[in-house]
């Protein structure tokens, strides 16, 4: 490792971070995200360590820019991975209880009442948004 330049360490570290992000994105698309991404967090941490090590050794201006990108990408993953958990909140209805009636606008802007579905089973799905 004494013969490995600071620039090379930055490149290795950034490559590790980008490879981790590529793999993670594939898991998002395939709906196979692990509930505990410890391996990915470790991978990103390892990449960050390599980048910092390389910068300490001296990676030059280009290495510095590349390393900055790697640090931001790796740091973002570690930060967002700690914010995946949703708060534990008690749903206002339980199995066996009546659904709560409400009014909302549909995609045409028309008023819609959940009670209009009376007599038919349905699945009500709350989701975060269109993105």
């Amino acid at each position: 490792m004494d013969e490995v330049s600071g620039f090379s360490l930055v490149i290795y570290g950034t490559a590790v971070v980008l490879a981790g992000w590529t793999s993670w994105w594939a898991k998002i698309k395939a709906l196979t995200i692990p509930s505990k991404p410890i391996a990915y967090q470790s991978l990103m941490a390892a990449g960050i360590v390599l980048i910092v090590w390389g910068m300490i050794r001296g990676a030059g201006p280009l290495g510095g820019m590349i390393g900055f990108v790697g640090l931001v990408a790796g740091g973002m993953y570690l930060w967002t991975s700690t914010m995946r958990e949703l708060p534990k909140q008690t749903l206002a209805v339980r199995v066996g209880e009546p659904v709560l009636d409400f009014d909302a606008s549909d995609s045409d802007g028309a008023a819609f009442s959940i009670s209009s579905l009376s007599g038919k089973p349905f699945l009500l799905k709350f989701y975060r948004g269109h993105w």
């Binding site: 709906l31 949703l86 749903l91 209880e97 659904v99 549909d106 038919k120 709350f126």
Partner: protein, 99 residues
């Protein structure tokens, strides 16, 4: 199936058109319905371009209701990155509402 989200009516319409969904899709921009069902999260991280990163959103939740208006099955995420897959939802529906 009826979906509901904090998206605006325009965003819901665009998504419905883009994906060709035939189901009823509702807008809960003010999050009143989210608050009613207690799935509203006051500060959540979102990835929508052009919008604030942290804003009120909802916990992804599916509620199966029978023809009498009674809740028969509930599926709620505890992690915003993990989505319910179709097989899991269909299995829950079949178990709760056997034909």
């Amino acid at each position: 199936m009826v979906t509901i989200s904090p998206d605006t009516v325009a965003e819901v319409a665009a998504m419905k058109s883009k994906l060709g969904f035939g189901m009823r899709m509702l807008s809960d921009e003010s999050l009143e319905v989210g608050a009613l069902y207690n799935v509203k999260v006051d500060k959540a991280m979102a990835g929508a371009p052009g919008r604030k990163i942290f804003r009120p959103l909802v916990i992804p939740t599916a509620i199966l209701v029978d023809a009498e208006g009674i809740v028969r099955w509930i599926d709620q995420a505890d992690n915003y990155q993990i989505r319910s897959d179709a097989d899991r939802v269909l299995a829950g529906i079949k178990q709760a509402l056997p034909v």
